[in-house]
């Protein structure tokens, strides 16, 4: 037992050292202009990011993007779960729904944006694309997870005369929880990416707007700072997702 803990501690130290080395390398390249003026030092990006004069700008942009991502995540998750439950109860509908979903998923996100622009106001395009991205992942996770319940459990439900709806809510959905939580973990990142791409098409504010305008106007610090926010936010949510996943797997399997 002690040996195991020791091993895990060593892994954590190595991992941390790897990240620190990466940041030092980033700093070194930036300080010495190894890759020219478009690669700023890590500390420069951080101090630019935390400059009090820019607090408002970054706060507004982050709130805008994250609320689009959150709205899309919630709506996409809801649609994914409802559709997956629907095709689970009516299996005849499943092959067609599978193909429609993967077709919609393989349409490039930038191609969806102009089409969504016809239906929703400019500032909702990001949320629409986030919804599509989250929907697909949750749908795939839920359709495979709903078949997780064991045959003997299903037989018990059948013998006791449970309706399809009862079996779905009391047996199949709880059994699908672990893969669905894994799906949700990936759906968060997908929703953030969707919100950002949607913002490239005329949104009034958001991190996606900042990134593209900084790229086109050569505002290198602004560009890196906005990307750093997105990176850190995604990593935090990914970490939270991993924790939730561990908890659910321990509880349900």
């Amino acid at each position: 037992m002690r040996g195991l803990d020791h091993n895990r501690l060593a892994s954590a130290i190595y991992g941390l050292a790897g990240v620190i080395l990466f940041l030092l390398l980033w700093e070194f390249i930036g300080r010495n202009r190894v890759l020219g003026s478009t690669w700023p030092a890590f500390t420069d990006v951080v101090s630019y990011l935390f400059d009090p004069r820019r607090n408002g700008l970054f706060q507004r942009a982050s709130t805008a993007t994250l609320s689009k991502a959150a709205g899309g995540f919630a709506l996409g998750t809801f649609l994914g779960l409802v559709t997956a439950s629907g095709v689970h109860v009516f299996p005849l509908l499943r092959p067609g729904t599978d193909r429609l979903s993967s077709f919609l998923h393989s349409v490039p996100a930038i191609a969806l944006a102009p089409i969504f622009l016809i239906f929703v106001p400019r500032d909702f395009v990001g949320m629409a694309i986030a919804t599509m991205n989250a929907y697909f992942i949750v749908y795939i996770a839920a359709t495979s997870g709903l078949n997780n319940s064991t045959k003997s459990h299903r037989d018990v439900f059948t013998v006791l005369g449970a309706s399809r709806l009862h079996r779905l809510t009391l047996l199949d959905l709880p059994a699908a929880l672990p893969p669905v939580v894994t799906g949700l973990k990936y759906a968060v990142s997908a929703a953030i990416v969707g919100a950002i791409i949607g913002e490239w098409f005329g949104a009034s504010r958001g991190l996606g707007v900042l990134i593209v305008s900084a790229m086109q106007n050569y505002q290198i610090s602004l560009l890196w700072a906005a990307v750093l926010i997105i990176t850190v936010v995604s990593l935090v949510f990914y970490g939270l997702g991993t924790l939730a996943e561990k908890f659910i797997y321990r509880r349900f399997t």
Binding site: L21, G96, F103, V107, L223
Partner: protein
């Protein structure tokens, strides 16, 4: 009765594709009934006509993006595998690199495209570099996992027969990483096409992304949608090919 219907060719077609058929029918009906101008929204028929009357243009840009995606994918997988192999050789390198690779592979790569574009310049090589980078991380992460997932007891067997470390790596470790490697390929192939298109779109370089951008600027919605459909087809084909390859490898390996 329903069995006969489902077993016929038409029945199976309807069963599998009713969603997509319904979508296209709704699109055609909507454009027709709302009497939309083709600048706002062309009908599916307009799009098909545009594709067939400009086949050369679609083929030229489609091939360019596909070549960039495939070459970048192969290069990225190769570099990712090589670095995973280097990391595997010692506890220190794998301890340092594998967690970092895991962290970097879970950040949204789309956000990095503008940085890479600024860093490397707006041109076709940058599109290639972006595809290399997005294929690198899954290749590295999955190959690293595969290199450590040896069949139980096999490592001892190699030791008993006196295999040296190089032999052990070439004949045992590398082959056992192949199934994970194929998962990385399946996961990366469709995004490789789409990310190449996204990079072309942002930098306005030639290819499907550039063509899409030009069409939007010219209000040629039929061409924009045509380009998207071709991109969808290419990325779906990439996914199906990679899934097929993965299945073949799985049969052979287990």
């Amino acid at each position: 009765m329903t069995d006969i219907l489902l077993n016929s060719k038409l029945g199976r077609l309807l069963l599998n594709y009713w969603g997509i058929i319904l979508l296209i029918a709704a699109w055609q009906t909507w454009v027709y009934c709302a009497d939309l101008n083709a600048i706002v929204m062309p009908s599916p028929i307009d799009v098909v006509i545009d594709i067939f009357s400009n086949l050369g243009l679609y083929l030229k840009n489609g091939t360019l993006t596909l070549v960039l995606a495939v070459v970048g994918l192969i290069a990225g997988m190769f570099v990712g595998t090589a670095i995973a192999a280097i990391a595997w050789t010692s506890r220190i390198t794998s301890g340092l690199l594998v967690p970092l690779g895991l962290i970097l592979s879970s950040i949204p790569i789309v956000a990095l495209i503008p940085i890479l574009a600024r860093l490397l310049g707006y041109d076709i090589q940058t599109v290639l570099a972006i595809v290399v980078i997005i294929s690198f991380f899954p290749a590295f992460v999955f190959t690293s996992a595969g290199l450590n997932a040896l069949p139980p007891g096999s490592s001892d067997l190699f030791k008993v027969f006196g295999a040296n470390p190089v032999q052990r790596f070439v004949f045992l470790v590398l082959p056992s990483a192949v199934p994970s490697w194929m998962i990385a390929l399946r996961l990366t192939a469709p995004p490789a096409v789409l990310v190449a298109m996204l990079a072309e779109f942002l930098m306005a370089t030639p290819g499907m992304g550039g063509m899409f951008r030009d069409s939007l600027d010219d209000f040629a919605m039929d061409r924009a949608i045509g380009t998207s459909l071709i991109a969808t087809a290419v990325s779906t084909a990439a996914f199906l090919l990679a899934t097929y390859a993965e299945g073949r490898v799985k049969d052979r390996w287990s």
